[in-house]
Structures are given as C-alpha cells and as structure tokens.
Amino acid sequence: MVAEDSHCASATAATRMPTASSLHQRRLRQRGASSPLSMTPEGGKPLLTVRRKPSTVTAWRERRRRSASAVLFAAAAAVCGSRPSSGPSVTSGTETSAPLRQPSTAMTSSSGSTDSTELSQLISAMNRPATTQLLCDNFETLRSSQPIRFCQLCFVHLSFLIDVPAEAVFEAEIAEEGALHSGGLLGAPDTDRTDDLLEADALLSLLSARSPVDGLFRKCGAASRQRRLRDSLAEGAGDFTDITDSCSSHDLAGALKASLASLAEPLLTSRLLPYFQRAAAVPAAIDCKESTSTFSGAKMLKAFRLLVQLLPLSRRQFLARLLTEVARLGLAPVTQMSSECLGVLWGPVLLYPRQASDDSRRSMICEARAQAAQFNAAAAFLIKHATEVMQIPETVAKDAQRILHSLRHRRRSGAAADSPNSPPTPPPLSVRFATAPTTSDDFTERQVSMMFAAVRSMPESNRKRQLIRLLSRDDHATAAPVTATPSRRCHVISSPMSSRIDFPMQRLSPDAAD
C-alpha cells in the first residue's frame, strides 16, 4: 500500500533530512484531509483503499518521535516497501505485511531493539527481486514509454536509501520541457562512447574465452603488448588474432582495466557515478563481509539495483557482463583471490571519481583513505553480488506496474483529468506524504526556520536564490486557504540541500523532539 509506504517515507526523510520532510508536511497541511492516505490518480478515485485510520497514523507518528528505533523501523519499512497485497501479481506480500499492519505494537514493544524476525522479514522483502515475467515486462514498458516517470520512480526509491538531491527530479522536469528523446534523459550514449565500450567489450570477450590464471587482475600485464592490443582494436583491423595469441590473460585484464579507465564517459556515467559513490558509503560497505542479510547490506543492494536500472542500456548490459565475468574468472580458486581483493583492484576503475587529476586522485587515496576503502569494498560487493545487482527490485517493479495502470486508467477516463480539483498536470510521482498533522507542529516550524537560516548562510549563488524562492513560495502557500489547489508538483526527494546542511541526528532523539 503506497500510502503506508509514503507515510514511512516521511519518517525516513525525517531521519535523514528533517527539513525536507517538514516542508512536505507543510504542503500536506495545505492539501487538507481530502485523501491523505491514498495514492490518487488525479481526477480518479483512489487507486488503493485505506487500510489504517488516520488517527492511528497520528498516534503512531507521535510514538515514532519518542522511539529512536521506531525511526529505523520506519526506514526499513519504507525501504522495503512491503505492504498488504494490492496488485494482481503480488504473491508474497502477506507475510511481510505483518510488521506493517501493527506498527504501533512494534513501536511500543521495545524502544531499544527491533524484533529480529521482523527485521529479517523486512530485509528479505527488500532483497526480493522481481521474478514474474509480468512485473519485468511492465518495468521495461515504463522505461521505454515513460522515461521521465521511470527515472523519477527510481530516484524516489533511491531517496529512501541514500541522499538524493532534488536536482535529480528538477533535471527530469527540465528534460521534459525540452525536446526529449527517450534515451536522452538517461544519458544517451554518443557514438564515440559506444566505440569506447566496444573496445572494452572486445577485450572482455577475449578475456572470458580464457581460463582463469593465478593472480588474474592483480598482476600487471606488459604495457607494450597492452598498447599494441588496444591500438589494433581501435583500428578495427580484423587480423589481431596473432596479437591476442601473444597476449597473456594478464595483458588482457590490464588492457580491459585501462580501457575502462580511459573511457571519455565513465562506465557508470558521470551523472550516476556520484549516486553510486553515495550508495557505496552505506555503512555495510566498510565491512564487506556483511552480506545482504543485514539491513545495511540490503539497503546497498537495492540502491545499486536501482542505479543499475538507471544506466543506459549499452552500459547496463556491459556492466552485467563485466561483473559476472570478473566474478567468474576472478573468484575461481586458481586465482587465489577473494572478492575483497578484486574490490581493491576494481574500485579505482569503477567507482573512483573520474575527473580526478593525478593530484586529486592521490589526495583521495592518501587522505580520504576511508572513502577509498568504501569504494573498494563497494566494488567487492558489486562483484560478489554480480547477478543479484542486475535484478529489478520487486517493490520498484510493483510501483512501475501501478504507474502504468494509473496511466492506462487515465487514458481510458479521458477528460476526467480536467476536473477542477485535480492539478493541471499529473504529479510525476505516485508517492505522496500521507501524514497530515492536524495540530500545530512546532517541531516542523523549528525545522523550517532552521532550514531558512541555513539557506541564508549560504554563499550568494543562483542556487541560493532558487532555494529562497522555493521556500518563500512554500510559506505563501501555507498562508493561503486550504482550498487553494496545489499546482506544485510533489517533490518527494529528500532535500535540495542535502549536501550542504549537516543536520545533527541527535535532534531526532526523543529528548530533542519533545
């Protein structure tokens, strides 16, 4: 049920970026009590029925503030998005919905620890990939027919896992206004980029034909042979068999790494690389022995899955091949390598910042060693879970299906979209924040004023002006009567300034909230 999901979403946002969530709460207040708990395709009736009374929600919300573990729980719930079965293809929603149906008992039972079985259920729900053909097909349909919605859907889900600046959605809207071709938003591959990938692709094919050898990917190949190999591949001459025969597997592996490192556009694309890096910073990455059976491991897996789905097709396919081949060859017993070792070698290729000149890269490796270790561990994670990372998260696939359904429904109902109490344009996202506090919320006020202060203290820039405009507009909206139609779209992304404000987490602890 999306309503619950989104309700939890506000909790998640609050843990990470309370200022953002409070903004949303303001917007929700103005939206009134019309249908705070339903996902509504504009003009139509609620797509999903309300399962929980609003009063329960408010009570639960109050309790949430008092219990730190509840916040974690809510985050888990939001992330896994497990909900009572509502779609036609939901097969396994019933057992995972249990923790969500009685959130209050879960919250009150113990403030210190979350029930381990419930947590493990959440984790397994989070890790579950979309298995049915229908879900996957719908996901693909949405990707091809509604690239913007698809992109936003992924980013919204991503925002529950890692910090996503609102630019991600703004960007999508800008692209929407301009002439958009379906690939453009997700980074349409230019011809030269595909050429680059072709080289790496050929090298990977050559390498995968070889059998694994001792210390593969670790030992360096001969630079001269690698250069010759890459040159001949670049020329596209058909007679490079004699060259490849003279090359050892180490040469091929080295050439592959060098080829990927020299791509004009990084393999994970310059647009998505920062998000991959943020996903790498999920705590699990530091100790990559942690598998996906832990909460943070599951979080990381889902974040990577979403990001992978956002990659352009050619890169996604190549990444899939690369990871599986690296895992297959590199983890063969004869190489004597572990996935952690492979992570050390592939982290720099896949995840390190690309624009890095020698100097900044050196400083990154030498000074931000913890960060480098994170990237390496994340690369190890990717290699370890090579096949899993390529799967579509079930929760996202279901949401995609829902969006498609609502779109079809709207197409069928035709002019219904023009009814007065619906926004002129459909909200690009299906997620809305469901908590509409009825009482005055000084916590929110405080958060908003804090955000104002933070924005004012920012250095003069376009961004600042934009933010001030945004905030004052929001203020104005609050002052306006409740009946005013909110024409603004619902930005559910955590915060436009997530990278700029360091919000102390203690403020969310029970004492600070009261």
Binding site: R218, C220, A261, M337, S338, C341, V344, P348, R362, A372
Partner: protein
C-alpha cells in the same frame, strides 16, 4: 640495549616498490612479522617498522609497502619523495615486472634529483625455479649498468616463501644507505649538479 636507545635512533624510511603481484608485501611481511601468506591481497599502502642490529649498530626501519597496480601509480612520486632507501622488487617468474625495474629506478633518480641513491634490486620467488624466466645474469647485467654511475645499487635473489635472503636484502640496503650517508653522497651529487649549471 634498553628501549630508550632504540627510540633515540632515527628511523630509516625504506620504500618497497615494484610491479603488481611480485611479492613486495610477502617480502615485507616475512621480514617484519616472519609470516608468509599464500593468498593474494592487493596492497594499497601499508607500513611496518622493525628495529634490528646491523653491524652492531641499532637501526629502526620504517618500511613502506606500496601498491604495484597501475591504478595506484599516481601515488608513486609522493612516497618516493619520502623514501631514504628503495627496495625494487621483481619476480623472476614474471617478465613484465622485470621490465618495469629499470623505469622505476629512473623514476627514483628523477624524483630524488640525484644520480646516485641507495637502491636494492630483489629478484623474488626464486623457489619457483621451474617457472623462472629471468636469469640471474640478466638481472646482474641490469644492475651493473646502473652501478657504473650509482655505486649504491645491488642485486640479491630472494624467496619470501622460504625466507631465503629476506633479512639480507633489508640489511644490505641499510648498509648501502649507511655507506651513502658516510660518503656524503647526497651532497656531492647535488653539488656536481649545481656546478654543471
């Protein structure tokens, strides 16, 4: 001797360099911890310290174990600036590692802006005689070429697995450094450079 003596001794900074997978970490670990690991664990950067008596003189060695992979080459110059003596490792079973030795030594000269510097070349993995592809004479030849203008250069064959010559390679490097310092090699080299200008 008491610990206070060891603390008073100025540490010698030794940097271990070489291509990937030649056994830099294995040598360093064998020397400092007397351990040998069969599995690979690529190094980014590790440092060890060990105190020992060399020719009845206390020496405190700070050993910096570095990464051999191309991905990390950008860090090279930085740690080369810090090093007082260098152990250049290659594997006698790996032609590529040997080919890189010469360029690494040249890089040391360039970074240090010296014509002579204490450099020990170690041919590792000589327990793997069957896979050997670099002859001793080949390596000797390379070192002799360098010795013409750098008397503080030497070649030793080692095996980190069997602990053959592991201590010797580090001890000899310290001896080279002492010789170098005693002769005031650093100052001479600099002066000659200046006079050229």
């Amino acid at each position: 001797m008491s610990k206070s003596v060891s603390k008073s001794v100025k540490p010698i900074k030794i940097v271990v360099i070489g291509s990937g997978g030649v056994g830099k970490s294995a040598l360093t670990l064998q020397f400092s911890k007397s351990k040998f690991f069969l599995d690979y664990d690529p190094t980014i950067e590790d440092s060890f310290s060990k105190s020992c008596y060399i020719d009845n003189e206390m020496a405190r060695l700070d050993i910096l174990d570095t990464a051999g992979q191309e991905e990390f080459t950008s860090m090279r110059e930085q740690y080369m600036r810090l090093g007082q003596a260098f152990l250049v490792v290659f594997s006698v079973t790996d032609r590529k590692g040997f080919e890189e030795v010469d360029s690494l030594i040249q890089l040391i000269y360039r970074v240090k802006d010296r014509e002579a510097f204490p450099i020990m070349v170690a041919g590792n993995k000589i327990d793997l005689q069957n896979d050997r592809c670099i002859d001793q004479s080949l390596a000797q030849e390379l070192v002799q070429r360098h010795q013409e203008f750098n008397p503080y250069c030497a070649y030793i064959e080692t095996s980190a697995k069997t602990r053959l010559n592991v201590d010797l390679v580090f001890h000899d490097l310290v001896r080279l450094l002492r010789l170098y310092n005693a002769k005031g090699g650093s100052k001479q080299a600099k002066k000659s450079k200046c006079s050229l200008l």
